[in-house]
Symmetry: C2
DNA sequence: ACAAATTTAGACAGGCTTGTCCAATTCGTC
DNA sequence: GACGAATTGGACAAGCCTGTCTAAATTTGT
């Protein structure tokens, strides 16, 4: 704002780049070591900046932690909404389209770096910062579950599913397609592509056995309905 | 061993009592504060003993942590197996019996003190102690899931369910009956009795919609089969 | 009641961490 | 090329924590 009104935004350039670098390194270290075990020197080293720069940008450890959680929440939410936008509203084949959707959701939102980090921070430090995580809860699961439920309701209304309570169905869908990944998630690991696919396939099959419309010849019906 | 061979076991009496008291206080503090943030003085105070006593019993912080995890793992496993033993092998009414079983499982094993503590420690510190948590994984989920799958297989063999892969069904059963408690678990909270019941009811209904035998008049058939 | 073991409170050194300060240096912009 | 802002490295005090040690007090078993 002060230095000059020339190129792009007010801070020169690498100022913001370093800020991001610090937040990312901090996310990694906070997750690995926990809040108390996280060491500012280590964060600075991992970000490739000096310790003083960390303090210049974020004030103190607690403010840095808050910035990390806000950043992760924002990016994860964006990813989840972007993925929900790819929900199959007019499925050619309900099963394979839902499996593909579940795999996308896992890959882009739950198993990726941001998703794993945010989950771990919430689990580990959620009780210590009630307002911060209440905010996450409202803007995250609160809104994304509603959005997903709306998509399932539409699918049911179009006759592809038979659902009583779309909110319950949405939560159960997520629970089912992740059923076989629980342990891996618990230990902070990253499931293989094959594990994700298998869990999604098994989950969607059960989901459709419970909520799918009965159909005499599935493949033919689907083909006719769409072609 | 040395002092006398008289009353019960070698350490007098409150020796062992204090040991247990320390482990329990340690579990609580490790969960609240994380491994790095846990303070031996605080653990000692919460256990009602002096700091030196903690060191006398457990050597150092890391050994104490291991003792805590071993203790929790053991008690949780015992609870889970005891609860699996109450699985309804000859259900009067499949739905209500499975709901009751799911509620028991949640109340006695997953939502209770030990269950919440163990889960949080695994999530937070699992990556730091690979062998310790590999041991938990083998003796915990590895064996309990098999045991539960065997019970579902028996239920299917007896004609109450229609299941392809009992292992998958067991995992999905657990995922479904906990589907609505995920957020609460994530934040380390304790769901109310009513929340547990509702999640279990919704989960079992979906589970039976997917795996239940079709039945024309459910109530009558169940009554006939049993009475 | 006595003797042995355990527990306690407190002090203590050593190490690590946070957060601040400052002079020297680098970087981006004009 | 020169100016100003940002960055760096290092030193620094203050605080906290672990783990050890000691002498006194308490408990336990006989």
């Amino acid at each position: 704002m002060k230095p000059g009104v020339s190129s792009d935004t007010f801070p020169p350039r690498s100022h913001e780049a370093k800020r991001i670098s610090v937040v990312e390194a901090a996310a990694s270290v906070f997750c690995r070591e926990g809040y108390a075990g996280a060491n500012i020197d280590l964060i600075a080293a991992e970000a490739g900046v000096s310790r003083q720069t960390v303090y210049n940008h974020h004030g103190d450890k607690e403010k840095l932690f808050m910035a990390v959680v806000r950043d992760l929440t924002e990016r994860c939410n964006a990813g989840i909404f972007a993925t929900i936008a790819t929900f199959p509203d007019q499925p050619a084949d309900v099963e394979s389209d839902l499996v593909a959707f579940a795999v996308r959701m896992n890959r882009n939102c739950i198993c990726n770096r941001d998703g794993r980090f945010l989950r771990k921070l919430i689990q580990a430090e959620g009780e210590r910062y009630p307002e911060l995580f209440a905010e996450w809860r409202e803007q995250g699961p609160g809104r994304t579950w509603s959005a997903l439920a709306a998509r399932f309701a539409r699918l049911a209304y179009a006759g592809h599913l038979s659902i009583d309570d779309p909110d319950v169905a949405a939560r159960q869908f997520l629970a089912l397609v992740n059923a076989e990944l629980q342990i891996t998630f618990m230990l902070g690991g990253m499931p293989t592509e094959e594990e994700v696919l298998r869990s999604a396939t098994n989950g969607v099959r059960t989901f459709l056995a419970a909520f799918g419309r009965r159909k005499a010849a599935p493949a033919r019906q689907a083909a006719l309905a769409h072609a």
